[in-house]
């Protein structure tokens, strides 16, 4: 029965612009500063203060728009969105309503090997509000204006997604593009990127259902869980013969549920009108073209290049290009080295360590050049892959180079034929019955002899050579 239902999802992403100063003032945007230390007269809305646009934030918005394959509007207008709240010093937020800086665009997501295009409706710039602190005093609310005036980009998708997986893939993709462009750091924990998700359900072929908006989701996990809960909730309501009410809802982590925040009737009338303190924003086409030329390679292009150039699988290429820093790390490792080994060491071994330590690639305990050196030792036969894992573990825990660890631990691979032969002869002498059995046709025992030699050499025997010599001796 559930299969008759279709889910329709549209997402608004709020991405903090990567910029040293705010959208309309020169205050710093440093995260984690002491309350009310990054506040200018403009941010505090002192009488007579006027906003002046920060050109860098405009450039960042243009870059982001270009990265989302979107149309950049040569003329856009800043509007005032009026409402009262303690952490909104002006009594209005400067935003863009009718004429945003960026128009329609699109991004591609990949779901189980299939590519799907998600439409972008618009991207507009707006200022963030301050922060209300309700937990500092039993009776009072405190206000921190450090965030007040920080530039945000609101990226509005078309209602093109039909599952929580697609929604997550979409947010991941947009985040990845913004991080490639350095226009947003994408840090969801710090709130640099958050999503409002619009969800509705309908029977196949029917018109769009009533939607609910789930506000302020700040992790992929929450996006997925909130959508799944919401879809179930709406289907149950409709199946019981009732109607979904249009409303804004909040997702609660503890209960893994969404709850009503305000209904459509309670929605503010924001009384949007063009901000008379700011002239319409006129962009020279020349400037836009110049920015276009300066754009870095973006995830989709890079993925294609990785597949073609490194001859790696689509899956590996996706994993390695989803984040710009990871892709750069990989390319540093893979330069003039085996791409197969490089993929395996970055995507499996290093990622496992990063996951375990909850670190991102920028804070990797092993640098790309260090990892490269380790791969060199494998490629030139100094150590076996098995020994390399031991060296890698040690590298993660110390500052030592691969070479030093190999030497220190005596892990240099034995590649001297005569030396390996000594060990082999000993093993063959000690196990005459198994030699006999092998010669009578039980060739599977080859593994046993190799294992014994490895044990005896503490894993240092060059596996290729060992295999070759043992076989030769037994087959004679």
């Amino acid at each position: 029965m559930m299969n008759d239902w279709q889910t329709v999802i549209g997402i608004e992403i709020h991405a903090q612009v990567n910029s040293k100063s705010k959208l309309f003032s020169s205050s710093s945007t440093d995260f984690g500063s002491a309350p009310n230390t990054q506040v200018s007269l403009v941010d505090a809305a002192m009488p007579g203060m006027l906003p002046v646009i920060n050109k860098f934030c405009i450039e960042q918005a243009i870059k982001s728009g270009l990265g989302l394959n979107a149309k950049i509007n040569n003329k856009s207008i800043f509007d005032r969105k009026n409402y009262f709240y303690q952490d909104l010093p002006q009594g209005y937020q400067i935003s863009q309503f009718k004429d945003p800086i960026v128009g329609e665009g699109s991004v591609e997501i990949e779901i189980e090997g299939t590519t799907k295009t998600i439409g972008i409706e618009r991207l507009h710039l707006e200022q963030d509000a301050g922060k209300s602190l309700h937990d500092q005093d039993p009776n009072l609310t405190f206000v921190d204006l450090n965030r007040s005036g920080i530039a945000l980009m609101e990226i509005v998708s078309k209602p093109d997604m039909s599952s929580s997986d697609e929604a997550i893939a979409y947010v991941r993709k947009v985040r990845s593009i913004l991080r490639y462009l350095d226009t947003c750091d994408g840090n969801m924990e710090q709130g640099s990127l958050r999503a409002d998700v619009n969800v509705s359900v309908r029977k196949k072929g029917e018109e769009l259902g009533t939607r609910c908006e789930i506000k302020n989701l700040n992790s992929f996990k929450h996006i997925g869980a909130a959508i799944n809960f919401e879809v179930d909730r709406q289907i149950k309501i409709i199946e019981s013969g009732e109607q979904v009410k249009q409303e804004t809802r909040l997702y609660e982590v503890a209960s893994n549920k969404t709850r009503s925040m305000r209904s459509k009737e309670d929605a503010h009338d924001y009384r949007y009108f063009p901000d008379p303190d700011l002239l319409p924003l006129q962009l020279e086409q020349e400037w836009i073209e110049k920015i276009k030329k300066s754009l870095p390679e973006l995830p989709d292009e890079k993925k294609l290049r990785f597949i073609n150039f490194y001859k790696i699988s689509g899956y590996d290429a996706e994993v390695l290009t989803s984040d710009r820093r990871i892709s750069e790390f990989f390319e540093e490792v893979a330069k003039n080295r085996s791409s197969k080994l490089s993929v395996s060491w970055v995507a499996s071994e290093l990622f496992a360590v990063l996951n375990k330590l909850n670190l991102n690639i920028e804070n990797s305990p092993v640098s790309s050049s260090q990892l490269g050196e380790l791969i060199d030792e494998i490629e030139n036969g100094t150590i076996s892959n098995r020994a390399a894992k031991e060296v890698f573990e040690e590298m993660c825990n110390s500052e030592k180079s691969a070479k030093d660890i190999i030497e220190e631990k005596g892990l240099v691979q034995i590649s001297d034929t005569s030396e390996i032969e000594i060990f082999i002869n000993k093993v063959l002498e000690d196990n005459p019955e198994n030699v006999e059995k092998y010669k009578n046709g039980k060739t599977k025992l080859l593994g046993f002899f190799i294992g014994e030699v490895m044990k005896a050499t503490k894993g240092k025997a060059n596996p290729g050579l060992l295999n070759q010599i043992v076989k030769k001796k037994l087959d004679n």
């Binding site: 007269l41 809305a45 009488p47």
Partner: protein, 490 residues
């Protein structure tokens, strides 16, 4: 000797070391002290003024005087934020507000050595044309009718700025003009009042009423003083995005009074049978003077004039309703404590704003509301474009326009006007100019039969303040009006 000084006269006295800046300053401080009946000042910056005057004298003694403004005592409408000095916008809601910063306008004056005597009373948040909406009470016009002893309004909203110049409580002052707030009170008090082109003077640090209309400008005794003051306060300011990039001009040194071969337009839409005969007569005299001095008088048409007032009373309140949202009791100014946020907002704003301000906030909130926006705000903006177009068309044919500044002369403070729309009609000749962003000046022409000043208004195209001042000087020199009301208030 120190009475009724103009900037030029005072500057000459200081230059020639006949009088010190301190002597001049002290004489004005004394006059202010003696003239409390007029209620011009909200704050007198006695110590600041004396200190600044001493600094001027110090410079003069070293022959380092900055220029003609150095040592000139000025006063500012209490809408300009002044560092460490109470700045109220004549509102209870800011009755405790002391800025940590100096507005660009006042800072420009201070940088040229001008002395700040204090802050002048005005209509609350510059909303009004009588100065009766001030939390600090009405300013009284120094002029009185010949036949009556009743106190008259000085006009508004820059009532204190105009009255203080007429009563000689400062050499000149700075006001702001959103719909006539400099020109109308200048006209009511026999002063020269200039509203510059929108964008000529920075709005940074000036408490906003309606951002797309507000412009600061001088109120003075003479056109020469207006020229000096205008060049003192003008210029690009990168802290105001709407400030013009045009370089500042030397309005005073380029001042000449020739009107030869200029074409002066007389808009037929400004003529009306309701216009008092004496105002009509002065208007005709203005045409005669300019014509005799070599200008050509041409009748013109500004067809959308009638729609200006309603459009203005939509746009200005709309912007004001948003601009005044910041006075919410949270950050500065008055706060009436309550148990929750919404109640605190309600009490603070009910308590802090006067009736006229509340009325305009409500009008503005209404016209911006969803469902009404297109019918009111958007339509008003379209009318605004048409009005601008009217002027653009006319300025293809004429160099300047001459109209009365006001449809009446000063009236009694006690005259209770129940219908706010009647009050709004005071601005009928001045409002279209703000909507079009043009420069205009009000200059005194003479007295009506009650003995009250009548002002005429000159309008030019954008950034043609020089031409505006030149024509104004021509008229001033032809008329020789003295702004010296009989002193009854000391």
């Amino acid at each position: 000797m120190l009475d009724n000084l103009t900037i030029l006269e005072a500057s000459k006295l200081i230059d020639e070391k006949k009088v010190s800046a301190l002597e001049i300053t002290n004489s004005y401080l004394k006059k202010i002290e003696d003239s409390k009946k007029l209620n011009c000042f909200i704050t007198v910056s006695h110590d600041k003024a004396v200190h600044a005057a001493k600094e001027t004298d110090n410079r003069v003694s070293k022959n380092n005087r900055i220029g003609p403004m150095d040592g000139i005592p000025l006063a500012y409408k209490d809408l300009f934020c002044t560092k460490d000095t109470l700045t109220t916008a004549s509102s209870k809601i800011l009755s405790n507000f002391i800025p940590t910063y100096e507005s660009t306008v006042t800072n420009n004056c201070i940088n040229k050595g001008a002395i700040t005597l204090g802050k002048l009373n005005c209509d609350e948040f510059a909303m009004g044309s009588t100065n009766k909406t001030s939390f600090y009470g009405p300013v009284v016009n120094p002029w009185k009718s010949l036949d009556s002893d009743e106190e008259l309004v000085p006009g508004g909203s820059s009532g204190g700025s105009a009255a203080s110049v007429a009563a000689d409580l400062c050499i000149a002052s700075i006001g702001t003009d959103t719909g006539g707030s400099i020109r109308q009170p200048a006209s009511f008090t026999g002063a020269v009042g200039l509203k510059p082109t929108y964008g000529r003077v920075s709005r940074w640090g000036t408490i906003a009423f309606a951002s797309s209309l507000d412009q600061a400008g001088p109120i003075s005794k003479t056109v020469e003083d207006a020229a000096i003051l205008l060049q003192t306060i003008s210029g690009h300011d990168n802290k105001d995005s709407t400030s013009s990039q045009r370089p500042n001009e030397h309005y005073f040194s380029n001042l000449n009074s020739s009107v030869k071969n200029l074409k002066i337009g007389i808009p037929k839409e400004y003529m009306s049978d309701d216009l008092p005969l004496e105002i009509q007569n002065y208007w005709n005299e203005g045409k005669k003077i300019l014509s005799e001095n070599g200008a050509e008088i041409i009748e013109i048409s500004l067809p959308h004039t009638k729609t200006a007032l309603p459009a203005y009373y939509i746009i200005a309140p709309a912007e004001a309703s948003s601009n005044l949202s910041r006075y919410d009791g949270v950050k500065y100014g008055l706060r009436t404590n309550e148990k929750n946020l919404i109640k605190m907002y309600e009490s603070t704003r009910s308590d802090g704003f006067g009736d006229e301000v509340k009325r305009r906030i409500m009008i503005g909130t209404y016209v911006l509301s969803s469902g009404y926006y297109d019918a009111y705000y958007l339509k008003a903006q379209k009318i605004r474009s048409l009005i601008k177009k009217d002027f653009d068309n006319v300025f293809k044919d004429v160099n300047a326009i001459l109209t009365p500044a006001t449809p009446n002369t000063a009236f009694a403070i006690d005259k209770e006007e129940k219908d706010p729309v009647k009050n709004y009609l005071n601005d009928i000749f001045t409002v279209p100019i703000n909507l079009a962003g043009l420069p205009a000046i009000s200059i005194p022409f003479g007295l009506d039969k009650k003995g009250l000043p009548v002002g005429m208004q000159l309008i030019t195209n954008s950034f043609e303040e020089q031409l505006l001042l030149n024509i104004a000087k021509n008229i001033q020199d032809s008329i020789n009006f003295k702004n010296e009301p009989k002193c009854w208030w000391k």
